[in-house]
Symmetry: C2
Subunit: 299 residues, 2 copies
């Protein structure tokens, strides 16, 4: 099954530990579509400015990502700048310029069908909802979000939660959304808002998954050298949904494995700035980490 | 095999969420010996004052814990008072009175043999070392510690690390001891100090285990209602070492299972103030959580 992803394409400037990278390829759509493309055919919907490098579009295309839904608009590409603390646990956003994203109302390209699975990567819930209504998806729908939207677009987000199947967010965001500190209680509160399945991402501690049928503790793949955590959550989501999009009927075992792949893909992303390490990860590397995670958790 | 534990018996006063408990039974020796006693015969070495309630000694004895090494000294029992933040993630020690512990130099009781496994629960490293030298243990030796000793008794602790097989400590303590933020690096640094195996406890996120042969991600048992985290780490250690003390030759599988039991026993402790929930946990409850943890992690 195809996976349609709407998310941001951005130029990121990241300061982490003693190094910085300026205007590197980033954005939730970038990380999610690159990791999902390891498993399934991806249609990417996004917008960039005239300053966006053509070679990035080619990069997506060589990964089998259909970019006919990536609009090139007059103006500048979305930019984001952040600085991490020395332990890479917290970051401070220094600057955000939405630029062409500000007025973006996408046209659904012909390649996208209502039979695609849909991943609403982390962007403004108004835009997520727009896509939802334009595409009328009939299959699996997942959504990611963040603190800014929980604080400023709560109404739209709550409406969206009734229409989607999987919500992905991190522990702090789950607490912010529900007011519940305990993550089991937070997941339960989110499920009462209408979303059947919840993935709570916990960075270096892995993730937790909650569904009506079962819960799952997603182990972290232990990474010795974390360089830049940016995009790890988007990568996790992309890996998970890419894997699920290979299945016509999703079983509990598929869900468990998709979460493991999410964890593995996220572990590649943190090993370099931007998408460098993620791009280098081939099937052998992925298979190796899958086996390692089995050995790390079997008892 | 018997397990000898030296650790504190204390009266704890704990303020957590909106409730408080005054002068309840606590101390590292209490939590560790009660959980270890679910699996093996335990010899407890400790000291209490004349104010210590005789029924607590009886409580230990009914669990098959040999208390002939618990000295009753003139003076008052060790007391500790702490207040947790509302999320139960951090606590502030409000008062500590070592009392009879201050001058405690234990006499090794007859029941203790150098063939016992030894757990040096969290107390002053000088006292841990004293026991080590007096007992001349020849089997498995494990040790727990905390920030106070890492800061104030580093020399003794470092000497001790060369003599023991397993060090248990939490993530912040592992970072404090080694100066390494990344926990794989921290564990590797600890192993270079002489201790073959390291357990890094991470509270609600489970634990990590490192040995020359393999690493293991210990999943958390998800607890819906955390009341008081006090003693969870000591309980973890007791459960782990109690389980290992049932084995004559310890395999990797035994180590993995012992860590799972550590996680399970810790999950009981946090469900009540003091040892109430831990005491109530019977073999059926323990077996149920073991099965649940399997289901929570299998893929």
């Amino acid at each position: 099954m195809n996976l349609t992803i709407i998310g941001s394409l951005a130029f990121d400037t990241v300061h982490a530990k003693d190094a910085s990278r300026r205007r590197i390829l980033g954005g939730s759509g970038t990380y999610a579509s690159i990791s999902a493309s390891a498993f399934s055919k991806v249609n990417l919907i996004s917008v960039v400015g005239e300053d966006f490098d053509r070679r990035y579009i080619e990069l997506f295309e060589t990964r089998g990502i259909n970019t006919s839904g990536v609009e090139v608009k007059k103006g500048k590409t979305f930019t984001w700048e952040a600085r991490y603390d020395k332990d890479l646990c917290h970051r401070k956003t220094l600057a955000v310029s939405l630029n062409v994203f500000e007025t973006f109302r996408p046209i659904i390209p012909k390649c996208v069908s209502s039979d695609d699975n849909l991943f609403l990567a982390n962007i403004d819930p108004d835009l997520q909802d727009w896509i939802f209504r334009a595409m009328k998806p009939s299959k699996l729908i997942a959504c990611d979000t963040m603190d800014v939207w929980i604080n400023n677009k709560r109404g739209t987000l709550l409406k969206l939660l009734k229409k989607i199947h999987i919500l992905l967010l991190n522990d702090e965001e789950a607490r912010l959304l529900t007011g519940e500190h305990n993550l089991i209680e937070a997941a339960s509160a989110i499920r009462k808002l209408g979303t059947k399945m919840v993935v709570i991402k916990k960075g270096e501690h892995g993730a937790l998954f909650f569904s009506p049928g079962f819960s799952f503790v997603v182990p972290p793949y232990l990474v010795k050298s974390v360089i830049d955590p940016t995009g790890a959550g988007d990568t996790f989501a992309g890996g998970m949904l890419g894997y699920l999009s290979r299945k016509n009927k999703i079983t509990d075992t598929d869900l468990r494995r998709s979460l493991i792949y999410g964890s593995i893909f996220g572990s590649f992303t943190v090993e370099s700035f931007g998408v460098d390490a993620l791009l280098k990860a081939g099937p052998t590397d992925i298979g190796k980490r899958y086996k390692t995670l089995k050995a790390l958790t079997l008892f």
